[in-house]
Structure formats: C-alpha cells, structure tokens
C-alpha cells in the first residue's frame, strides 16, 4: 500500500496564465488574511481591549472554513492539474488538523493548569502539580492496571472468535442465519447492552442469569460484589459485543485460504488437528495480528459499559482509564487534572501501540 509515485499519469499542457496564478495566490492569502484579522479582533475582544460584542468564537471558525475552501480553489488556480489532485486530500487533511491537532495543543495547555469548571476562580497555571497529584493517585494507577487486565482478556476473545469462525467456515446449513445471529451483538449500543445484560439479566433477584446461577448451585449470586467477579463480568459483556468483530475478520481470512492447501495436507495424511496447527493457523497469522491490533485499539477506549453498569465500583475494581476520567470530570468538574491524565494515557498508548506494531511486524516477517 505504500506506493510512492503516481499510479495514474496525466499529461496536460500546464500553461497557466500569470493572471490566473496571481488570482489564485491572492485568493489564498486574502482569505488567510481575513482569518487572521477575525482571529485578532476576537482575541482583542476576549481580552477586553475592544468591545466588539462577539459572544462566541464562531466567527473564527467560519474564517477557518472560508480559508479552507479558498485554499482548495486557490490550489486549482495556482497549480492546475497538480492542484486538482491536491483537492482530493486537502479537505480531509484540513478537517483532521482542525479537529485533532488544534484541540491536542489546546489540551496540553489545559493539562498544566488547575482548572475546575465549578469554581469561580477560573484557570490557574500550576506547573507540575497535576503530575505530582497523578503520581500519588492510587485510583489512576489502579485504572491503568485494570486496562492491562482488559487488554489481556482479548486473547480469550480471540480464541473464542477463532473457534466460531472455524465453525462458521465448516459446511453447515443455515449459514446465513447463524452469521446474522452472531453479528447482531455488534450492532447493539453498549449503553443498551449495559441495561439489557448488566442491569436486568444480571439482576440479583429476578434476572435470568441469576436464576441460572442459583439453579446451578450458587446460593447467593452477586455479580458485582467482589472485585474479581465484577471485572470478569465487564470483560464478558465487552467480549459479547466485540467477539463478532474479530470473528468476521477471521472468517474473511479463512475464506481467503485456498482450499487446495488444506486438502493437500489431508492427502499427506495430516489429521484435522494437525492440519489446523500446521497449515491454517500459520496462514491466518497476519489476519490474526491485524484483528487483535484493531481490537486492542477499540479495547483501550472501553468506557460506556463500565460507566453505566458499575460506575467503576466496587472500589474502583472495574474502572478503565476512560471511565475514571469521565467521573473525574462529572463528579468534580476537574478539567485540568482530567486532561493531564488523558494526555498521559495517550502517551502510554502511543508507546504501547508502537512497540506492539514493531514486535508484530518483526514476528511476522520470517513466516510470510
């Protein structure tokens, strides 16, 4: 996928008239100037130097959108054919930069302040205080540890998903029915799932799963009482919604394996068990790694179910980082500290994912 160099060659007589190029340049810089002027006026207004009656920063936003549009048009006027190509990528790039890079930089400036939205004093720069607070915050470290557990649970999910994919890949009747049935949990919103399963089916008195547990001989089923069981329940609910996702990816991988390979293995006298481990599994390795990596990315965002079922309890045993920061904001309106925790989490994730991807790449190379 990393093709450098044009796949599509277009030969055009690129004789753009100087006036057209000048107009293009004027359009880009003119709109940029407009954006600058609007932003400057807004800053003056915000600091109170001028009273222009702006109630929000929206004019700057409109300025940015206008500049983005003019930039796209200007590129075509300025560069002709090359500009037309740029216009394919430019809108998405401008959008992403505006929505990610700018808020991230802004977030960094919040992270080192003491800013409680509920207090009147507003925002104060407090240097490394937030970092020190984080260092001694047992709940944050606990949440990080929980994330490690949650990520580890992916291996079990992977095993189940692989098994289901194999079963779906076998020659069965009503394959379409089973595929749709297996896919459905993925469609459901985690919030609805947390009521359907977490709050009603696991309800201690009347829930069907509690009844089942009693019938199986567990006298006083309590699914969210002890930390271990509560954590396991969260894992199970999250697995329930996301196993279809891995299953579909693995199924696609299985279907891409040519039948001749497994048949050849059988002719050579390998049993099903051996065929799986010696032929299917190694061939599935790249797909497996992709599926697991994507699943880890989604798992690291895990929050909705926790927020709605246990709210982190008992005693923070089920907290994920996201749900912890969510409550930090909801209960204490602590924007500065919450942002710092999120930023640290981001750094950890980026390091973790980079290492993981490098390891996966190195590990896969000799086999493929």
């Amino acid at each position: 996928m990393t093709t450098e160099g044009d796949l599509l060659h277009v030969v055009t007589a690129n004789d753009l008239s100087p006036t057209r190029r000048a107009a293009g340049r004027a359009l880009i810089w003119g709109s940029f100037g407009l954006l600058g002027v609007v932003a400057a006026l807004q800053i003056l207004n915000a600091t109170g130097a001028l009273d222009l009656g702006f109630r929000s920063w929206r004019p700057t936003l409109y300025g940015y959108a206008f500049w983005g549009t003019c930039l796209c048009i200007g590129q075509v006027m300025l560069k002709g054919e090359q500009g037309k190509r740029l216009v394919f990528v430019l809108p998405a790039a401008l959008f992403t930069v505006a929505m990610v890079v700018f808020p991230l930089i802004f977030g960094l400036t919040i992270a080192f302040t003491d800013w409680n939205l509920a207090s009147i004093s507003g925002r104060k720069f407090n240097g490394w205080d937030n970092v020190r607070q984080m260092w001694t915050d047992p709940f944050y470290w606990n949440a990080l540890l929980n994330m490690a557990w949650y990520v580890a649970a992916i291996l079990v999910e992977y095993a189940i998903a692989f098994g289901l994919a194999l079963v779906l890949h076998a020659e069965i009747r009503a394959r379409k029915f089973f595929r749709v049935a297996f896919l459905l949990p993925l469609m459901l919103s985690p919030v609805a799932v947390s009521w359907m399963i977490g709050k009603s089916m696991l309800e201690v008195r009347f829930g069907p799963l509690a009844r089942l547990a009693r019938w199986l001989g567990w006298d006083n089923p309590s699914f969210f009482g002890s930390p271990e069981i509560a954590r396991f329940m969260i894992m199970a609910m999250d697995a329930w919604t996301f196993i279809p996702f891995m299953m579909i990816m693995l199924l696609a991988g299985l279907q891409a394996i040519p039948r001749e390979l497994t048949e050849a293995a059988r002719v050579d006298g390998a049993g099903p068990w051996k065929t799986f481990w010696e032929v299917t599994f190694p061939l599935m390795l790249p797909v497996s790694v992709t599926a697991i990596l994507i699943r880890i990315i989604f798992k690291l965002k895990l929050a909705d179910i926790i927020i709605n079922v246990t709210a982190g309890g008992p005693g923070g045993a089920t907290d994920s980082v996201t749900s912890f920061i969510f409550r930090e904001y909801r209960d204490r309106s602590n924007v500065g500290y919450g942002t710092l925790l999120a930023m640290v989490y981001l750094v950890l994730i980026v390091i973790f994912m980079t290492v993981l991807m490098k390891v996966a790449e190195r590990w896969m190379r000799p086999r493929t």
Binding site: M1, T3, E4, D6, L8, S56, W57, R58, F88, V89, A92, A93, F95, V100, P103, F106, G107, L164, V167, L168, I172, F177, F178, V180, L183, L184, P185, L186, M187, L188, S189, V191, A192, S194, W195, R205, F206, P208, W240, P244, F245, I248, M249, A252, V287, I294, L300, A303, I307, N308, T322, I325, F326, Y329, V335, G338, A342, M343, L346, I349
Partner: protein, 305 residues
Amino acid sequence: MSEQIFRDGEADLGYRARWWLSRGAIYAVLLLWALICLFPIYWTATTSFKMAPDVMQGNMIPFVDYTPKWLGWRSLGLSPDTIGNESTVRAEFLKRFTNSAITALASSSLAVILGSLAAYGLSRFSYRFGPMKNSDISFFFLSQLILPPVVLALPFLVLYKELALLDTRIGLILLYTLTVLPIVIWIMRDQFASIPTELEEAALVDGLGIWGAFLTIILPIALPGMVAAFILSLVLTWNEYFFAALLTSTNSVTLPVMVASQTGSQGISWWSMAALSFAAILPLIVVGVLLERYIIKGMAAGAVK
C-alpha cells in the same frame, strides 16, 4: 489401495461415527452461541410486554407463561391505545431519536465523502506535504484511530463552550465525523486500490478530467465499498455514548444518553426500561439483518490483503 466395495469395515464405521460426532459438536456450538447472542435481545423484547409479577416470577415465554401487556410501550406512549394521544414521553423519545438519526446520518455521510476523496487521492497520486509522503499521510489519517476519546473530550468541552457549539447537533456531527473518518479511509483505500487504473486511463484518453473520471467511472464501481463504510460508520455513531454524554445536556441529547439517564434512576420500572432499550436497538437490528452483507464486507476489507 484396492477398490473398496463394502463400507462397513471397522475403520469405516469408526470414521462415520466420528463424522456424526463432529457434525453434532459443530451444531451444538452454533446453537449455543446463537442462544448467547440472541437471548438478551429476546429477553429485552419480551420484558417490555411484562408486568411486575411476570418479572418477579421469571416468566419467559409470552402467551404460555404470561399474557403480554402493552405496559412498557404505554409508558413510552407507543402502545396502540396511546399512539393517537398526546404524550410528552413519546415527544421526548422521538426528539432523542431524531437527534440520534440526524447526527449519525450526517456524520456518516460527511465521513464517507471526505474519506472517499482522501482515500482515492492517496491510492492514485503521490503527494508531498513538506516532509510527509503518501505513506506518512495515510498513517496520519489512520493513526487517529488510536486516539482515545478521553483525550479529545475535555479540550472539546472547553472549545465548544467558547464556540457556542456545546449541546448542538453540529458539534456532535463534527466530532463523530472525526472518529469514523479513519475507518472510512481504511476501507475505501482498499476499495480503490482494487480498481485497476486502466479504467481511468481510458476515461482520460476519452477526454474526461481527473474529477470527471472519478465521479463518473470510479465512484459507481466503488459504491458497494462506500455503502459498507457508511453502514459501519452509522453503527458506530448511532451507538456513541461518551462524547454525547459529555457534550450534550438538553437540546441535542442522543438516544444512548437518554437510555443511560433512565438506567441511573432506580425507581424506573423494568418494562418501560426494556421498551426504551428495545426501541433504541431496534433500528440497528433491522440494519444488521438487512444489510449484513455490507457490514461483513466493510469489516473484512482491511483483514485480507
């Protein structure tokens, strides 16, 4: 090996027994997992027709164990006898429902448009933004997938407040577009890469421009992929809870937030909660059953190269 006439030797019988055993095991696993997948949905659907004693006795099967009642749906104002009347609960529910529908549809469309354009560009031309080449630009887009929502949530809270976008649908739409854009680009890049460039070359020879070739030749071919990306985005944005919970308060509350706010209160009855949950998941169940093909296609796109 000599030609075998009778297939009732010791080894053959053993083989057939093993075959039946494996069949049985496969169907047992399939049925068990289908039960695990479908039972919560069945439970929610039936509970919405139950009354208090039915819930307490653990009745499961409608018409056999208990007589279904419209209790849960009446509390939403959606039962047959209340559907004609004015209902504040229903108005509230419908408002949330439209909010969810508009944000999900708009953000998915926006993401598919922006993402397809970018993916097409990246799969056909080489760019250079400063030091960034094509693979770096692709990585820049895809790396947004790693970004956890918490990191953006609090800065956006403050920014949206300044921009007067808090509690508006536009604000949510923009954010949701951002969250699904990498997925769309990932799927679409794969789609466009599988379309041979000879098609555009022929179109260009025939006098179309790049954009003309893209819009009239390539887009129709890539349409199934776009539908897959759109449906996948729709599922993710419809179910999104975290941003909606933080950034909305009254006007633009989406369905998941409404469901969540009802679960919090202990006094709420099971049947109305079940009705609400079921109404919230129903659209996507319908989508899942009808468009399963596209969803699978979308998810499989990145898996197999």
